[in-house]
């Protein structure tokens, strides 16, 4: 009898759970599932974005074309360079900043806010600010010349391939460093003080404390930040779009998302663009799956 009652309570709770979850499921289906499914469907057709003619079915042709396309592989290469160049400094420096922030008691909140503030800016605004900074007469050249004791050297932030890639990495790093620092801060904050105190009593110095206590216990946060950074980097678009619109050469920073945009909006080839977006989705989905899998197996218990 008691068992039945419990079972009924569980069902009742589950029903309410469904009530609360349903609106988000509906919205998510409408604005995420449907576009994904539709994009997958569209990727099998040749459709000109401007044409009213019905699209023609081409099977896997859009995909096979992409695997043969020099431009597609160039954009894959650019995306990988950007991801590698952004991912490592973001994870490392956000962890260092978080540790530094946790080690100070005064002005901690202020620094947290200061670091986090670029994250709330729209990517377009951030890119516009940096376009002014990277202007040949802008702060970047002035700063570098002052730093290196040179006069009038143009570092070509928006011109040469290497510097242009670096510029996009700098913008992204500036924009997201605070966001991931805050994630690490909350991760470090969740580690019970008793563990640190016990290690200190056992004679561990600050270095040992970090490597043998803090860092291992931060593993789930580090993995989460790594995966999120990687996904963010793969999705990068606004900075590259704004820079190329402002006259920077396209080829060195033609990342996959920019290629998708140009293929669809400038070239009108929506089928090919959706095929590219599906491939990008598969890569991102794989990383998300990894994140879920790793976060499940790498759960840390403080008990």
């Amino acid at each position: 009898m008691r068992k039945n009652k419990g079972f009924s309570m569980e069902r009742k709770k589950a029903r309410w759970g469904w009530v609360f979850v349903t609106p988000s499921l509906i919205l998510f289906s409408a604005f995420s599932f449907y576009p994904i499914i539709n994009a997958f469907y569209e990727s099998f057709f040749n459709r000109n974005l401007l044409s009213l003619r019905p699209p023609s079915f081409v099977g896997w042709n859009n995909y096979t074309y992409l695997f043969r396309s020099r431009e597609f592989w160039l954009s894959v290469q650019n995306t990988l360079i950007f991801t590698a160049g952004t991912f490592v400094p973001l994870v490392v420096f956000s962890l260092i900043l978080a540790i530094l922030l946790m080690s100070i008691s005064r002005l901690r909140r202020f620094f947290q806010m200061a670091f986090y503030s670029p994250a709330v800016l729209s990517s377009v605004v951030a890119a516009m600010i940096w376009l002014l900074i990277f202007d040949p007469r802008g702060l970047a050249n002035q700063g570098m010349n002052a730093l290196l004791g040179t006069t009038g050297v143009n570092y070509n932030w928006l011109s040469t391939a290497g510097m242009l890639r670096l510029s996009t990495i700098v913008v992204y790093f500036w924009k997201y460093i605070g966001y991931f620092t805050v994630m690490f801060v909350s991760g470090i904050g969740a580690i019970p003080d008793t563990l640190n105190e016990a290690a200190l009593i056992d004679g561990a110095n600050r270095w040992k404390l970090f490597w043998h206590v803090t860092f291992p216990l931060l593993k789930p946060t580090t993995i989460l930040v790594s995966i999120m950074t990687m996904i963010q980097c793969l999705k990068t678009f606004s900075t590259q779009y704004m820079f190329t619109s402002a006259g920077a050469p396209t080829r060195p920073i033609n990342v996959i998302t920019l290629n998708i945009y140009n293929t669809a909006i400038k070239d009108y080839r929506i089928g090919r663009a959706t095929a590219m977006s599906i491939l990008l989705f598969i890569v991102m989905f794989t990383f998300t799956w990894l994140q879920l899998r790793v976060s499940r197996t790498e759960d840390v218990s403080y008990m």
């Binding site: 974005l49 401007l50 431009e71 143009n154 006259g247 920077a248 396209t250």
Partner: protein, 475 residues
């Protein structure tokens, strides 16, 4: 009579409101009549049917009434690009037109010129485009080819037919917007670019602007170098710079001067005359940061800063309309006479005297707008364009109307002779269904050479491959 009736039957319509069809076979012939009363339906059903029918009647009446009201009130959306001078006069035209036709409301939406192409494409692909709009013809061409714009309604614009309309404009005006005998746009402006010069900058560099202005592209490098000021490698004053996104308008003619073409005459092969292309690519390398460091697309647009007379640009390429913008941005500079316009340069070894291509902004009407909206959109366009002289004087844009061109005051406008002489040696901008895409490919090729120092031959090979792929594509 009754005895003769055989096989009498009743057919009851379910929507009959109690009437029935009485069908009878009388003396071998079939007869029918509608008779009030229906004994097959009970009273309750009849009441429900009556109520339903009444409701249907009300709904239908409302729909018809709404359509009638809708037909009376027309709301048109007009998308155009930024131009402060034009905004002032067109807002006035809208007010006047709305006063003349109170049933018409026009919403004018202004977009940044560089973003208009993307915005328009997105709107059209979502079937949510404005009723009327203007874009550069090289972008509009695709809309016409894909039947996204409506042909001109001659009745609405007050002409009997296409011939009568064509006769009112400069010869060739409609060549680019004519398809299958139909005209798809009315010209808001026809523009070519010549070289604007800031005389102060020339004098500051010890040059005589009247004599020393560049006549050839080779001279352009030398003169620009003399005018350019630098702090180390950083340019603080450019002698000259291009309008970089517009490669088909201003840079393709440089290739054509040397005998090159983007496509072969049959339109099937990309890139004609590699030497011509490579010479132009090398010219840009010399001009850019890896050469004499005279300018680059990453600096602020030369045309935009020219008006300010801030000693930061000596020369720029732009159209007659720039004069209106100088007047509004910097009236003192406009009145000072410290600026002048000279012809578009030509290469020393040019085989063809081709000047900067001219392009048009045509007013077009969305083919998906209702017939009524299309009619009023064309009527409004005709009303606006009837003010050709005001557009010329206030906005400095040239509508190629014959009456305007025949007006003796026309050639007396400042530097109009330069523009007209250049235009006589030029042709309409390269038009192709994928022209917009080709322009992007040219942009990437020139930037690769100019900014990333890619070998010209490699950049040309990539350009050729990309354009050829589009040409060969089965779209």
């Amino acid at each position: 009579m009754q005895n003769n009736e055989v096989n009498r039957s009743r057919i009851v319509c379910t929507f009959c409101l109690g009437y029935h069809l009485d069908v009878a076979k009388i003396e071998g012939g079939w007869y029918w009549r509608v008779v009030p009363g229906c004994d097959l339906l009970n009273m309750e059903r009849r009441i429900i049917l009556k109520k339903t029918s009444m409701l249907l009647f009300i709904v239908l009446s409302l729909i018809i009434a709404t359509n009638v009201v809708g037909a009376q009130n027309i709301e048109l959306t007009y998308w155009t690009h930024t131009d402060d001078n034009r905004t002032i006069i067109e807002n006035r035209y809208i007010e006047e037109f709305q006063a003349l036709y109170p049933n018409v409301t026009i919403k004018r939406v202004v977009n940044e010129a560089s973003k208009m192409g993307d915005l328009m494409l997105t709107a059209f692909s979502a079937n949510n485009a404005p009723d009327l709009f203007n874009l550069p013809i090289e972008q509009e061409y695709g809309y016409m080819m894909h039947h996204r714009v409506a042909p001109v309604n001659y009745e609405a614009i007050g002409y009997a037919n296409a011939e009568e309309l064509v006769s009112q404009y400069m010869a060739g005006t409609f060549d680019t917007v004519m398809m299958d005998g139909q005209i798809y746009g009315l010209p808001l402006e026809l523009t070519n670019w010549s070289l604007y010069i800031n005389k102060n900058v020339f004098r500051d560099a010890g040059l005589d602007p009247e004599k020393d202005y560049p006549k050839t592209w080779e001279e352009m490098i030398e003169v620009a170098d003399k005018l350019t000021l630098r702090n180390g490698e950083i340019i603080t004053r450019r002698g000259f710079d291009f309008r970089y996104p517009y490669y088909l308008v201003a840079m393709l003619p440089m290739v054509e001067q040397l005998g090159g073409q983007l496509l072969s005459d049959d339109g099937k092969t990309a890139i004609v005359n590699d030497e011509a292309w490579i010479q132009v690519f090398e010219w840009f390398r010399t001009f850019g940061p890896h050469g004499r460091n005279l300018g680059s697309p990453t600096y602020t647009s030369a045309r935009k800063i020219f008006n300010m007379d801030n000693n930061d640009i000596g020369m720029c390429l732009t159209g007659f309309y720039q004069q209106g913008r100088i007047r509004i941005d910097n009236p003192e500079f406009y009145d000072s006479g410290e600026w002048m316009v000279v012809p578009y340069p030509v290469f020393e070894n040019a085989v063809k005297d081709v000047r900067c291509s001219y392009y048009g902004h045509f007013m077009m009407v969305n083919a998906q707008a209702s017939a009524e909206k299309q009619y009023w959109a064309w009527k409004f366009i005709a009303y606006m364009l009837d003010h050709g002289w005001e557009y010329l004087e206030t906005v400095n844009i040239i509508q190629p109307r014959q009456d305007l061109l025949d007006d003796p005051r026309y050639m007396e406008l400042p530097y109009m002779v330069v523009f007209m002489t250049d235009m006589a040696k030029s042709h309409m901008v390269f038009l192709h269904e994928n022209g917009f895409q080709f322009e992007r490919f040219i942009k990437e090729a020139i930037e690769s050479v100019m900014l990333s120092n890619m070998p010209s031959e490699e950049a040309l090979d990539i350009l050729r491959e990309r354009i050829q792929e589009v040409l060969d594509d089965s779209y």
